[in-house]
Symmetry: C2
Subunit: 186 residues, 2 copies
């Protein structure tokens, strides 16, 4: 079976700082004709499951304009231009800027697309352990207002149920943490 | 601490079939001034972790134009207009259209935002069990070319490592399945 959709033409709609929007006209495989594909292009991001010596997860509370609500998430950030291929350093930078911590041990857990149906944002998720406070941490972005939380696994799972945690990458990280701890369902 | 970013103005950039793009000018909290927020508005989606009587996960292979690659994912689809509040029926419809199965038992697992930093797409993830083949299943969308796979947990985890599975909702579903089975790490 042939799957590929060949690009016949691309119309660029918007070029922003966070993403670019385009509409492609494609030739469908298997003689199915033509179709339009609305697409978002994004530079990619990093995120970190950071576990403290007390076996707590570090979470960042921040306002998310897209949903007009605050949200509790693992530390994360966009890749800056030229950082592709250097995701681990980017993850350490975001961890330091948002939480004031650095990690003695960083391990890549997953590399995934957040919204594959229309967007190419790729997120690399790390596990950070052996955390230590940085004396003069790099400052966070000027437009960020954040608050830090540390939660046990039970507290984090409750926050998923209550909806306080409602972000895919954070739920994925917490599941992974539960699997690491050998936890069972329920 | 105040978190809210008040909308000063909104510029609508693009209104498509899949999403709408806007740029908001916002007033930051705590006297931090103003900023722009690039936003994607999406109608929401449903996805299903479908487990067969042989304890295999049903996966759908399809081409994803945003990444110019095929991808192996759990059955999923966008909510149609007027389906908000009726996500379970939408999930059953997508399951039937894409796989030919219906489920005797549907349970909501998670309700999350896929790309919360800039997009309000909300995905409701279900667990489908007691699967049976529908005799004359509803047809899939005319522009979809898909192929079905069934995998054991070990095979699905291998497909994550190999990158054949690279989609957030699918990784989340597989981790949930592993937790259900009481699996431990490694």
């Amino acid at each position: 079976m042939d799957f590929e959709e060949k690009t016949l033409s691309r119309q660029e709609i918007f070029k922003g700082h966070i993403f670019t929007v385009a509409v492609d006209e494609v030739e469908l495989p298997n003689g199915l004709g033509q179709a339009k594909r609305e697409l978002i292009f994004h530079n990619g991001a990093v995120a970190t499951l950071a576990i403290t010596a007390e076996n707590k997860i570090i979470l960042v509370k921040q306002y998310r304009k897209a949903i007009e609500q605050v949200s509790l998430e693992i530390p994360a950030g966009k890749l800056e231009v030229g950082e592709a291929g250097n995701e681990k350093a980017a993850a350490l930078r975001e961890l330091e800027e948002e939480t004031g911590y650095t990690a003695g041990k960083m391990e890549q857990l997953y590399d995934f697309y957040s919204a594959i149906g229309f967007c190419n944002e790729r997120i690399r998720l790390y596990l950070a352990q052996e955390l230590t406070k940085v004396e003069n941490p790099r400052e966070k972005d000027a437009d960020e207002t954040i608050e830090l939380f540390e939660m046990t696994l039970a507290e984090a799972k409750e926050a998923i149920v209550s909806g306080e945690i409602c972000d895919a990458k954070t739920i994925m990280a917490i599941q992974h943490w539960e699997l690491m701890l050998g936890g069972s369902y329920g």
